[in-house]
Amino acid sequence: MDPLYLQNQFPDAIPRAFLDKGEAVVHVIPEELHNILKICKNDPQLKFEFLMDVVGVDYLGQQPRFEVIYLLYSLTQNHRLRLHVRVNEGEMLPTASNLWASADWAEREVWDMFGIAFSGHPNLKRILLFEGFEGHPLRRDYPVSKRQEIPEIEEKL
């Protein structure tokens, strides 16, 4: 896929678009994220039916600190896209779970591991770790040897 196809339409929302080792990559500003994702899904030239995963990366020491990557795949066009967005600690990103159902758990995992919140998410709570866990373990400043006790949890649905 040609990453410039998107950038030419939305030059303000997409500061960078390039091919990286054959992969199409676009960098999106957080304010326009939901808009661009919606276009990625619905534009007949793009037609990304699959949101394969949402990945968080902590670039500790950089501004903005975190990067969230949306991995998209289109079956009809047989192409992929990596959509990057940078976000600072405490800032929120709009949820993509109203576009792809797979975003629901993927975003919960990003929240669980990095503490990046998604506004409008129907059920934003921990997914792999237990309720009561302190901190977000995949942040670069979370010590690898740190241990936590599992608290007693009341049974609830």
Partner: protein, 394 residues
């Protein structure tokens, strides 16, 4: 007597995490109306061991044994998936023999994974005999793997730039023997299941998911193909010269448990074809790349040549150093798209490794597939989805 007293109250049932039919440490909390599941909430993470955090604190080569533990039913496919990601990042192209060996072990592991998935699925719905027919064959495959790399489950067979060890001399004969007994086992099992009324009642129309929903949830692999979507990375975006192999992408139409089982049956036959073609293509040659950034120099040079000696020490002490950059690389694992998003900052340890396990998105749709159905159906559906807690929880 007042009829109000007979009105059923909701009953809560806790399935797992230590339940024999829950396939690993999965927990399902159900609200029941009689025997019907009204609402189900899956809880997992019991097997979370911080795979991604561990990778950030190990050299690139040390990450490979961790990948065995993702989908431990088909460990070699995870080895291949991770190594392919790093190789793509470094721009390494494997020698032909290494590529063919990887294809062979991947297809062998796909067969083994499907044997477990279908075998245990039918055990859960009461058909134990099939399981023994299948596990006899699986044992033979494990003997091959043991001879190949010394371990049965935790293989760590690949290296960045190739594979650990070449095929042993009797490999082809033993593999052919194995494939023959596999063919017989599939015939035996399908003979027991086809037209078997109990089996059909338990699986046809159970756990149906539509094409649109499956794509929405990010289904891949046999579960997606059971709904009729012909998405297979080996055909759509081929790697390791899969485009040269003659095989079919197996699709079904209804997206129920029956279709998922049948797709796996047929995929085992297709994998057999691929292995036979791959073994015919095998020619003597190197099994590791000669790229000095990843491959250890041969011992004859290490002992005689100072540069090879330094290269050896640097690769062992500092590890492989892929150039700074990021990549998303995916392979068609037994259960669907196994993806690795890898970030390198040019150092000897990964900056970030994110694994996309195929069963994570699939498990998300599980409550939707069982709500409104019996508890027994929930067990039948779970087996068909083939959720492996090792890769789900990472």
């Amino acid at each position: 007597m007042e009829t109000d007293a007979l009105k059923p109250k909701p009953v809560y049932l806790n399935l797992g995490p230590a339940h024999p039919a829950m396939h690993g440490t999965l927990r399902l909390f159900c609200e029941l109306d009689g025997e019907i599941i009204v609402r189900a909430v899956p809880e997992f993470g019991y097997l979370h061991r911080g795979f991604e955090k561990h990778c950030e604190n190990s050299t690139w080569t040390q990450c490979i044994p961790y990948t065995d533990r993702l989908n431990y039913v088909s460990a070699m496919m995870n080895n291949v998936g991770f190594c392919k990601g790093v190789e793509d990042l470094m721009g390494i192209v494997l020698p032909e023999r290494a590529q063919i060996i990887r294809v062979i072990v991947c297809e062998m592991n796909r067969i083994m994974d499907h044997l477990v998935a279908t075998g245990t699925n039918v055990v859960d719905i009461g058909a134990l005999t099939n399981f023994w027919y299948y596990f006899n064959v699986r044992e033979k495959f494990y003997n091959i793997i043991e001879k190949l790399c010394g371990a049965r489950l935790t293989t760590a067979y690949t290296r960045i730039g190739g594979v650990m060890r070449d095929l042993y001399p009797e490999f082809q004969a033993e593999m052919n023997d194995c494939l023959k007994s596999l063919d017989k086992a599939i015939k035996d099992v399908t003979g027991l299941l086809n037209h078997n009324k109990i089996f059909l009642n338990r699986t046809v129309g159970v756990g149906v998911i539509s094409q649109e929903d499956a794509m929405q949830y990010g289904f891949t692999g046999p579960c997606l193909r059971a709904t009729g979507v012909a998405y297979d990375i080996r055909k759509k975006q081929p790697y390791y010269q899969y485009e040269d192999y003659d095989f079919e992408v197996v699709v079904a139409a209804n997206g129920d448990t029956y279709d998922r089982i049948m797709v796996r049956f047929e995929e085992m036959r297709q994998s057999t074809r691929i292995i036979e073609q791959a073994m015919a293509k095998l020619k003597p040659g190197p099994i590791m790349t000669d790229d000095k950034r990843a491959a250890l120099p041969p011992k004859s040079e290490v002992y005689t040549n100072i540069e090879a000696l330094m290269n050896h020490f640097k690769l062992i002490y500092e590890g492989i150093r892929p150039p700074a950059g990021e990549i998303y690389s995916c392979t068609e694992a037994a259960n669907g798209e196994l993806g690795f998003y890898i970030v390198s900052n040019g150092e000897g340890v990964p900056y970030r490794v994110k694994c996309r396990p195929p069963c994570f998105p699939i498990y998300q749709a599980y409550p939707k597939m069982i709500e409104g159905r019996m508890i027994a159906d929930a067990i039948a559906v779970l087996g068909g989805l083939n959720i492996v807690a090792g890769e789900l929880d990472r």
